[in-house]
């Protein structure tokens, strides 16, 4: 099939763009092909299934489409032509092959209820042995590179969290230490340790929550910037970064307890000291 497309594309590149004749079958061409060959809607192109240009047929460009983003083809200039299936079979049918005896590689099915996808695929496979039916979502998820990239990004995220934790602990130790005198005075006027630690805990919750919200805002802004940059760089509509509610919730669920724990751990060492010792200058 890929060889066919190469030949087809070669033929398009070699073909002369002629002005429309309304009775010709129509084709869709990818935006990239339209841009590189300066083709417009209504132009007539000659397509051949072979590299040497035999079996040429004329088609009218009925539309220009944006190809479905495909990470596996990242960086490739997608020069594609989409034909109606009967036109494609007519174009590629070898002499001596009776019409209707061709085969197709894949059939896309849109279900009335998309939630029935798994049941439908099981049904098809049970009734038609040899045919593989797979829900579209499952097919995308099972693609190796996605799983590997997800693991890679998770590993990077873990290292970043570790580095952040270390820095956070250093900062909270310094910040708590800065308030040593105030804590010492509070102890001397009768505040129990658990009351002070509770206050520091609340402070930690507040700071960590505000910090997490700021982080989410920053990620939403950078989401747009990163997507725009990569979409421009690779000339694709692929979405590279997507901050989903689930991702946001995970980030908050990690960041807030981490921030609060760092504050409490740093404060704990301070509160174990004597009040007089803390308040002395």
């Amino acid at each position: 099939m890929s060889r066919f497309w190469v030949a087809l594309i070669a033929a398009v590149l070699a073909g002369t763009a002629l002005r429309a004749a309304d009775d010709l079958p129509s084709v869709l061409i990818s935006r990239q092909l339209a841009e590189t060959e300066r083709l417009r809607i209504g132009d007539v192109v000659r397509l051949s299934p072979t590299a040497d240009g035999t079996g040429v047929q004329q088609f009218r460009i009925g539309g220009i489409y944006e190809p479905t983003p495909d990470p596996a083809r990242l960086g490739a200039v997608i020069r594609e032509v989409q034909l109606h299936l009967p036109d494609l079979l007519n174009l590629t049918r070898e002499s001596g092959t009776p019409a209707g005896s061709e085969y197709v590689q894949r059939i896309n099915v849109a279900l009335v209820n998309p939630e029935d996808a798994s049941r439908f695929s099981r049904d098809v496979q049970a009734r038609m042995p040899g045919v593989q039916a797979q829900p579209a979502a499952g097919a995308a998820e099972s693609t190796g590179p996605f799983i590997v990239l997800r693991r890679f990004h998770l590993a990077i995220a873990i290292v970043t969290i570790l580095a952040s934790t270390v820095f956070l602990l250093a900062l909270t130790i310094m910040l708590v230490d800065e308030r040593r005198t105030a804590v010492g005075v509070l102890r001397l006027i009768g505040f129990p340790s658990h009351r002070i630690i509770f206050q520091l805990f609340l402070e930690g919750v507040l700071i960590a929550s505000v910090g997490s919200l700021f982080g989410l805002l920053l990620s939403l802004v950078s989401e747009g910037l990163i997507n725009r940059f990569f979409q421009w760089r690779y000339d694709t509509a692929l979405v590279f970064v997507h901050v989903t509610p689930q991702v946001a919730a995970t980030c908050v669920a990690i960041a807030v307890p981490l921030g609060v724990s760092a504050t409490v751990v740093a404060s704990w060492a301070l509160l174990r000291r004597n009040g007089l010792r803390l308040a002395r200058r």
Partner: protein, 396 residues
């Protein structure tokens, strides 16, 4: 006592915060080092792999990658003509197909099936047994031998699949005469190689004397560029690429994603490091304003206290930077292990590759981080009003 010694004592006085600062820089530095290794790692690794094959020229029918474009017709004749060029030392034609090995495996074992023209040099290294000669002989890789539990001399029955279309070719039986290492094998890849004629026969005999790619080695005196020019002149319809051009195409291809992601992460990591070291130093300086004002009152010059702060920054970043190298190396091994699970990546290709320029860039960026992170605290110290600060300390 010089500024560095003074800064060292300032840090040692508060070991917990100094250690955490150094550890934080080490973790961020490790990530930074890895991103620098990743930025060019794949391309360097691929270049090394191409050079190790012993061929520095690739000739195909079109711009498409070998195996995904049209076949080169009359491949044996073309290969012989190319090998006779004065700038070319040797040439070999390759045909790529798929096969299902049926040696007692219930569902068959999917394999990459290669065919090579009859030349003295083959693009693989024999590990056990011998190389293919005439007749129905194949060499297999170690994975195939392990999966089928066979040794040189055993028989292999396979059913070839040579085009994208559905085929039902008859099974063909070969003798596995050797176990070889193939440069582009994937970690779990099953590879079988035979002569071009044997592959064509297994493919049903419809595409005899056709090849996906012709690989050639240039004469040392001529070089690959001259060989590319000669081949293009002799066969203007074919596309000839040197290793350097192939790597350049590879750089522009889909895997630039890793370079881009490494640039983004390097920028974010550096920003993160600068911000945090600045905050650490600033908070530390703010806690010692009275002490610094007292030193100034005792006769320490403005430049001397500035140098103390700068040296503290250098010590934190320097210590963290040194630790980041072994940490980064260990992390790179783990991340490389994860990324190499991407399907189709040859076993000998690595994403994280050490190169001296990456280390130099790492040191340069860390030095810049130390300088930039120290700027604000230096400003605080340099503009510190001595009398007012001392009075505030006493009154406070």
């Amino acid at each position: 006592m010089n500024a560095m010694g003074f800064a060292w004592r300032s840090l040692v006085r508060q070991p917990a915060r100094a250690s955490l600062g150094v550890l934080g820089v080490a973790a961020v530095g490790a990530l930074l080092f890895d991103m620098l290794l990743l930025s060019n790692g794949l391309v360097i690794s691929m270049r090394g792999l191409l050079e190790r094959t012993g061929f520095d020229l690739r000739v195909t029918a079109t711009d498409a990658l070998p195996g995904s474009g049209p076949l080169i017709p009359k491949a044996v004749g073309v290969t012989q003509a190319i090998s006779k060029l004065p700038s070319v030392r040797s040439a070999v034609a390759l045909r790529f197909a798929n096969a299902t090995i049926q040696n007692g495996t219930p569902r068959g074992l999917f394999a990459a099936f290669q065919g090579v023209s009859a030349t003295a040099t083959h693009p693989w290294t024999i590990l056990q047994g011998r190389d293919i000669a005439t007749g129905a002989e194949v060499v297999i890789n170690e994975n195939t031998a392990e999966r089928l539990r066979i040794k040189p001399g055993a028989s292999i029955t396979l059913r070839a699949a040579c085009t994208g279309d559905e085929q039902a070719l008859p099974p063909a039986t070969f003798t596995a005469v050797g176990i070889a290492q193939f440069p582009f094998d994937t970690p779990n890849g099953i590879t079988v190689a035979a002569s071009l004629e044997q592959v064509a026969e297994a493919c049903g005999g419809n595409e005899v004397d056709e090849a996906d790619v012709i690989m050639a080695a240039s004469q040392e005196t001529a070089g690959p560029d001259a060989a590319v020019a000669d081949v293009s002149r002799l066969f203007p319809d074919l596309k000839a690429l040197s290793n350097a051009e192939a790597v350049s195409r590879f750089e522009r291809g889909g895997f630039t994603y890793f370079r881009q992601i490494s640039t983004v992460l390097t920028t974010v990591t550096l920003g993160f490091a600068v911000l945090l070291i600045t905050v650490l130093l600033t908070v530390s300086i703010n806690q010692r304003l009275g002490e610094i004002a007292a030193l100034r009152a005792l006769g320490f010059s403005r430049w001397r206290v500035v140098a103390d702060v700068f040296c503290e920054s250098v010590l934190i970043v320097g210590g963290g930077g040194l630790l980041s190298l072994p940490l980064g190396a260990a992390l790179a091994v783990g991340l490389d292990h994860i990324l190499k699970r991407i399907p189709g990546i040859p076993a000998d290709v690595h994403f994280f590759v050490y190169q001296p320029s990456a280390l130099q860039m790492h040191l340069l960026l860390l030095a810049a981080t130390a300088v930039v992170a120290a700027l604000y605290p230096i400003r605080v110290v340099a503009t510190l009003p001595i009398a007012a600060t001392l009075r505030d300390e006493v009154v406070g």
